[in-house]
């Protein structure tokens, strides 16, 4: 029966084709963003990296938005990393199995809340609270964006760090306990160091999430195309690459659209590089323990 073998081969090819689609999509994203971005790159060149954004003077420097993206993400991590690590340690090392079974889905639920809802609540409740407390100029600020993004980055950091620490073999932890270490000493000196590349990868993914987040930021950052003054002023307003694109796409014409696509490419590149690094670190953790023992 030739047909059975041929059919099997065909099925194999079909699945390969479907799987390869992901690669095609990634290339298409890059190609089509680039096609739309090209006129702007061609016209302005390195001017796109400048710090002045002034439509009437035909200046489209993306630096304030790039800085804003990074600034917000760093602030978000300052909120999310300590909390998230603590929560991950609790889940993977301390929580009884029954509690873990409840908390893990709850944290996933936190990840499921749509970002527009975060943005809405952040702007209406948190923004107003900060405005009243600190007497700022308006409800929008970097601080509000950092807090909201921190909360949004928490679930990914918690669940990836939890996985990394769960992957540390039990016999290493047992060895430490047998040497007279307390469970906390074991966590601090064995589990965390052994899982460090997985934890780092979690932090990078959290940062990627914070940089790529759009709707929540757009509602609370102020969307003012300027650097915060002074540069570390969390009470000031500003812009991020994502918010810039989201706000301007609907309102702009002509070359500005191309500039926005350039911003999109920057965003895509930054986050793609972060995904790849995070991925390498993660496989390194699993290989460290699976390959060797």
């Amino acid at each position: 029966m030739v047909s059975r073998r041929v059919k099997d081969k065909l099925v194999h090819l079909t699945f390969f084709g479907i799987a390869a689609l992901s690669v095609v999509i990634i290339s298409f994203i890059f190609i089509f963003l680039f096609i739309r971005a090209y006129p702007a790159i061609d016209t302005f060149g390195t001017g796109l990296l400048g710090s002045e954004w002034n439509v009437s003077r035909n200046k489209f420097g993306l630096l304030p938005a790039m800085y804003g993206s990074v600034f917000v993400a760093v602030g978000a991590l300052a909120v999310a990393v300590p909390l998230g690590l603590g929560a991950a340690i609790y889940l993977s090392e301390i929580a009884p199995e029954r509690v873990r079974m409840i908390l893990k889905p709850l944290i996933e639920l936190l990840a499921g809340i749509p970002s527009i809802v975060y943005g809405f609540i952040g702007a209406i409740l948190l923004g107003r609270y900060l405005y009243d407390t600190f007497g700022m100029r308006g409800v929008n600020s970097f601080l509000a964006a950092m807090l909201v993004l921190g909360i949004m980055a928490l679930p990914i950091i918690v669940s990836m760090s939890d996985d990394a620490m769960k992957a540390v073999p039990k016999d290493l932890k047992d060895a430490s306990l047998a040497l007279g270490a307390t469970r906390w000493q074991t966590i601090r000196k064995v589990t965390i160091p052994a899982a460090i590349s997985g934890i780092t990868s979690a932090v990078i993914m959290g940062m990627g999430r914070a940089i790529g987040e759009t709707m929540a930021v757009m509602l609370i950052i102020g969307s003012v195309m300027k650097m915060p003054v002074p540069f570390f002023n969390v009470f000031d307003t500003g812009n991020t690459l994502t918010a810039l694109i989201a706000v301007q796409m609907g309102e702009s014409h002509g070359i500005i659209i191309n500039v926005l696509f350039t911003a999109g490419i920057m965003l895509f590149t930054i986050v793609a590089v972060m995904s790849v690094i995070s991925d390498i670190l993660q496989t390194r953790t699993t290989e460290k323990f699976e390959g060797k023992r």
Partner: protein, 407 residues
Amino acid sequence: MSGRKLIALWLFVVSVVVALMGFWFMATRASMDYWVMAGSLILISITCYLSGVHHYLTTKNRHGRYIILYGSVVLMVAGLSIYIPDVLDLRPWEIYTRIPSDFFFSFFMLIIGILSSYVSFRPFHNFTKEGAQSGAYYIIHLSIIFTLFPLFLIMFNIITRGMGGITWEFLTEDIVSMGEKGGVYPAILGTLAMISLTAIIVLPLGVGTAIYLAEYARKGLAVRVIRTAVNILQGTPSIVHGLFGYAFFVLILFNGQKCLLAGALTLAILTLPIVTRSAEEALNAVPGELRDASLALGATKWQTIKKVVIPPSMPGILTGTVLGIGRAAGETAPIMFTAVYFSGTGTPSGLLRPIMALPYHLLSLYRLVGYRDVEPQAWATALLLLIIVLGINLSAIIVREKYRQRF
């Protein structure tokens, strides 16, 4: 009764009360007297001194000096705070902010309260490593509480503020005057249509990719590239998906027409890695012996996959798809350039026609807050969206937990 433990417990209780008070004052922005804060801190530092001195007197070893040092720091914070002006105005330094002293006072109470309750574990366990462990565990428990706290805060606010707005009319009536009146019926229909279409598109692609990765792929360059692509796709910001959907689907495939199909295709790309990953996990959970058994009976690989591998992993595959759909239902950025125009778009009328969707409707409403009286409608829309998205996710999670221990 142990005096050492009694003092430590007292320190713990006082600190927790002070922290809670600080938290309460901060949350309510109550006006605060300097002496409320200073009094609490002085009480804490006195207890620290007591604990340290008691430790020295009973054991003659000098571990207690750390807690005395800590007590002094607390006392210093209390003392120096008297120099905090009523309103700290940062405007001379070009920072447009005026922070009232109440904020600093309640903030200090919160922070020092938490720190002191942490410190109290040391004397309680006689400065052994067990004390370090209990203290660390205490902080870890606090961080899980603070992690879940926003979840409850968000839920609580949305439910209490949105409940009233969800009425039969709200669910079934057309959007009138940009959402100020009427309901959200077209947006609900639009979202449902879009996520159903997304599911139909993404299911075969995601499961196909997963089958290739789990069943056919051997180690090699091609597989590495595919895996990397899936990972990058998973991390890609949704606004980038939106840009791509606009540049490719809208501008090239559909002649500049924003439409249901363009939005669903964009969302399918967004959910593809989610579906792939969960489906792959489900396929990998099927034990290898089952495959070997089937192959040994003369079945081809495809027959084995179809008859032996897929049926038991079906719950896992569906869970992944549903999780992906839950994500798609709440996304705004990918659809705002590809599928929606504005609030008056109406009910979905065809694959190549634009639609309205709930998340985008919430955005439009938010933009009107302050200009028109739409806040109640916005809260109700947020609640509705949350119910739909979390309902989808919850059902997926429940199915997954139920079928988890199959092998």
